[in-house]
Amino acid sequence: MANAVILPTLSMIDQLPLLTIAVPLIAGPLCVIFGNRHIAWGLAFLSSLLAFLFSGHMLLQVIDGDVLSYHLGGWAPPLGIEYRVDAANAFVLFLISGISTVVLPYARQSVAHEIKKVSHTLFYCCYLLCFTGLLGVVVTGDAFNVFVFLEISSLSTYVLIAMGAERDRRALTAAYDYLILGTIGATFFVIGIGFLYIATGTLNMADLAVRLADMGDNRTVQAGFAFIVVGMGLKAAIYPLHLWLPGAYTYAPSVVTVFLAATATKAAIYVLLRFMFSVFQPDFVFELHTLTWIIMPLAILAMFAASLIAAFQTDLKRLLAYSSVAQVGYMILGIGLATKTSLSATIIHLFNHGITKAVLFMVVGAFVMRVGSSFTKNLNGLGKQMPWTCTAFVIGGLSLIGVPGTAGFISKWLLIDASLKADLWWLAMLIVMSSLLAVVYVWKAVEVLYMQQPDEGSSAKEVPMSMLLPMWIMAIACVYFGLNTDLTLTSASVAANSLLGGGVQ
């Protein structure tokens, strides 16, 4: 911002990488200063919309493979902090800000229903800080800056989850568990960065990549890699490190669950991608072994174990939370295969799963609003009483399974394609088989909604338009990105290219 004064030759367009972060960051405290919940919501929506427009513009700028480099405060990298936007992070920025812009209109009614009025301004402030943190993690090109933004988003996430305590006191313990695990994860990440700094003396990611290129057998670098993968793995909820996720998603207020499920793990997956393929070289022996012998088996385990657990859940929110763990499995499977196609699959699944889970959790939020519960036993026959909401659920469910014509199909297709190209036909079989498990748990919900008679005396009715519309925007997006893959496929393959830096296949 000050930059614009010092260097008046720069136009507003050049400031976009910073503005995307700065606008919601400033809007957050403003919400509290104004102290009015309507203004707070307006500010949140406006800044989120601006961030969406900015990141959309940046995505168009970098989709041909260009890189935007923004020097914070005019200090040139590698000494200064650099915001570096290429197709990979522009695409993730586009997803995060897009989801937030659609979720906020939905939030208005849902928050009014679930959180008491005095806390609304604080809620929107925390929401904006969380939003800022997630965008910052993705936009920055400086390794330590990732940690700072990560903690901004994490701390506000803990508060947001704890706000679910008005519905269920277990939100507090869920938030506490996440606080402990999240802090351990972030601290591991810092230790990893410290090791890399010892080995190279730099924190800039592009510079790190250059200096690490011939340090593949350096123990310090290997230890740093391990710490970073485990730390970020905790944040991304890679299977055995997922323990915080089900509780947090189940007891958080519905809006928070929608937003977190669609964006938070995605930002962590992006950081993993960036570190594994841009900062470290995938042809390092230790990294190759990690990918083949740790990441891949865990991914397959996640696909099956988490899906199975999901099938046994009675609470729709918890069911979808476990399904998220399973879907993260598909994303890290793409990382584990480490080819260009598989990375495209990861990036495109990141996007498609984001919009799919947004629809599903929005629908569950609507149930919570009208029925007061997300347990399947209380949702009997809602298909008749809330037809639009339930249809959106079916569309989201189909996309989650990966039925042709929906977004979920595209990403699974790419993933199967990638595993066939790598001559792993059994892996392709496993992907299809685990998708069948998704059929089980999606059907479980559909059966309750459509095949049962409504409970007697139930007066559930359709949710207001302001909630229905965002739900359907996402549902239509699920179908649209399943039929028209120009934007997603192009972005994903350019992103995979830029992550791999033109190397490796």
């Binding site: 704890a162 507090l172 802090t183 700094y197 010892i198 046994f312």
Partner: protein, 139 residues
């Protein structure tokens, strides 16, 4: 011997880190967990601060008259600055954790992990009474 003494700061860092980590994992009291987390984080602070130290280096502050003597060795200030940020984050985490503990105590009447787990599993059993005890568990 040289290996041990030469890397003394790293050994201290590792021992402190493991103590903190152990407290977080092994203690059931929520406050003690936060204390463990603090020790864990403090070890990382010390790790960063010690790697910024240069042998014979002094505080990285230029004299006020800016007559910089090229023979003076300065410590590396960057890790110190980084860890200043991390300390602030640590304080925020601690205060948030403690605030959560206050709320947990208000709602559950205890801050012992095993007692809270017991209360929670009872709640869960009630919720799932219609479907049977095998359904809806943690994993």
């Amino acid at each position: 011997m040289e290996f041990i003494l030469g890397h003394l700061n790293y050994w201290l860092f590792i021992v402190l880190m493991m103590i903190g980590f152990y407290i977080v994992v092994a203690r059931g009291n929520y406050i003690k967990k936060i204390v463990g987390l603090n020790v864990f984080q403090a070890s990382v602070f010390m790790f960063y601060i010690s790697i910024g130290k240069v042998d014979g280096g002094t505080a990285p502050i230029f004299p006020t008259d800016m007559n910089i003597d090229p023979n003076v060795v300065y410590s590396n200030p960057l890790p110190h600055v980084l860890i200043l940020t991390a300390i602030v984050v640590g304080i925020a985490t601690t205060s948030l954790g403690l605030a959560l503990i206050v709320r947990i105590r208000e709602e559950f009447g205890t801050i012992e992990e095993d007692e809270i787990l017991e209360i929670e599993s009872k709640l869960q059993a009630e919720e799932n009474s219609a479907e049977g005890p095998a359904m809806g568990g943690r994993a």
